[in-house]
Symmetry: none
Subunit: 185 residues, 4 copies
DNA sequence: GCCTAAGCGAGACGGTACGTCTGGTCTTAAG
DNA sequence: CTTAAGACCAGACGTACCGTCTCGCTTAGGC
């Protein structure tokens, strides 16, 4: 994500593609700066000039692809909106390269505060913002929208990360319904 | 976790302590088999004889310490029980060595299915079981208790892992209340 | 040249051989720790455990081979002794792998005092010593033997290093004769 | 040494000065094209346009400074002439920046035939020529002057390069005397 | 009370990846 | 066309860990 006037776009692209392909082929563990460099036919120096290391490259490659999948919904109720986003979450990550990259990034972010910050800034927050705004509009003013978003999205991430129980539309719907209406009412 | 008649308990202890101390001092990244071996005054072979690697050692050290902190509550309602466990979660992990080790383990588990399975078996499930049983007793029969537990504990983990917003009693209470009664009622 | 009880002799040999073969094939410039490691099928760490770098490895390989070429002469006069050694010098280095390695080492030693010291200790001095002793015996007591050796061997090295004029038996003989009898007498 | 009509003299100067200053400050190893470029405030391309690399730049800087130290003597005998040149050699190189640069160049020339040729052409030969001519005049016609020069200057270079024994006027005189009169008479 | 199997400290070993460095080529924009 | 600036490929550098292995020492049990 650094800036420069002279950056060579082909090289930039080749590096991101190499990182993506490597992750797709062998998962997070298959990616290394050495491997990226070899596959992209690029000098090591070039990678370290523009990124801090493997995580930064993979993050950018991830953002690149993930941004191509915006949520589209015409729902007009808070529940409908949340349901649409929850289902989209499942579709986006479950059994996809994107999902594997994402969990890799989340794992690495545990030991890399800088990566965590970039993830928050360039992924979590941009995704939350429109949902937050939309929900705030249709929900009453005394609703804690951020808490609501946590309650919906945290379980989805939880299932994604633990990977031991299914994360499908059924589960997404159940989460949204329960959160909106209360479990023990 | 392995078995043997001949295992030397002092050595076993020394290794776990070394792993723990290293994590306490420098975080997950400061731990390596080489470092453990150096600090414990132990042969590398000995570590690999009884564990599969650094993650397994740290996991055992973690379980060792974490089990010393059981939840105690005399609550008799589902909401009270959940609140007690949610608050205990915050106390246990926030700004503690235990918390740092835990997030390290969760991060590593993203790339290590075996570690993930052990975590589930030896930590998540043993912790869930009594809560599940207790809640099932006081809640009605038509409540999806597992979903309920997800809804409560996932947000807590979420905050712990992202680390960007506070995870305190206030938040724990808010989560439990909202989940039980519904956010939009 | 370090010592250890546990050193694996096969590995030691393989590294020296690799260094030698690389120099023979492509000269001093073709040798690098990476190349040695690749050719010997050895870990990088193993090279750096026993040597300080490429120069140290090549030096040892050089000494290894060079020691197999002792000077043999039955000369009983100072002039005869010196002539034998001068001719041997030419035979040993001119158009031989040994010669190329030697000049490489001398070149590197200009920027590496440690290498220079090792060369002096393990090569120059052990070669000088017997000649010095032998010459001292047959020459009178008021002869500066070390100066004499300089006067004979320096020109030989000079031709070897500059490489612009031939270094053959004719030249070796001329040097010895001139030094012994005086040029302008 | 290259030629061009458009060459900018200030830039030329700045590069030579940078190379010289770097060598003076940190020795041969401290010089690199990158370092020269940084210190001279010059583009890398500019250096490679006019020189073949670091060695060529340093060589030119060396010649530039060294030529400012001509030998002056009114000696009329061969021995006197040689003695003057031998002493001048010691003064010029021992414990001087010039000496350090010179040994660096000689070291590099071992792996760089082009550099060796330039050294011979622009330094060794121009220095030898006048001495050769002068000596030839005063010495008889049957003296091998080139051999004589070798015998005198080689030991001086030898001491300079090995650096393990002193190279002073006493040594210079001893060499000249011995060579002229013969060591063993 | 041996004796043989194991656990054990020590650490060498083949590997892979790291992040830094230099060399030499090439591109861009200003003059 | 020269220059400053610097991106770029290439690849060596020396370090850190990993997980396997081999060495002797010591310490159990089984005899």
């Amino acid at each position: 994500m650094p800036e420069s006037t002279r950056r060579n776009p082909q090289v930039h692209r080749a590096i991101l593609d190499a990182a993506w392909d490597l992750t797709a082929a062998g998962g997070w563990a298959a990616v290394s700066v050495d491997a990226i460099v070899a596959r992209a036919g690029v000098g090591k120096r070039t990678v370290y000039r523009w990124w801090t290391g493997k995580a930064a490259v993979v993050l950018e490659a991830f953002l690149d692809r993930a941004r191509a999948n915006p949520v589209t919904t015409r729902a007009t109720t808070a529940e409908g909106l949340l349901r649409a986003h929850a289902r989209h979450f499942a579709d986006l990550y479950v059994d996809t390269v994107l999902g594997r990259v994402f969990t890799g990034l989340l794992g690495a972010a545990q030991q890399d505060p800088d990566l965590a910050a970039r993830l928050e800034e360039h992924w979590f927050e941009p995704r939350r913002a429109p949902v937050r705004a939309a929900v705030r509009e249709v929900a009453g003013p005394d609703v804690d929208v951020d808490l609501l978003l946590d309650l919906v999205f945290a379980p989805l991430h939880y299932r994604l990360l633990t990977g031991r129980r299914p994360l499908d539309h059924t589960y997404a719907d159940a989460v949204v319904t329960s959160v909106v209406r209360g479990v023990l009412g």
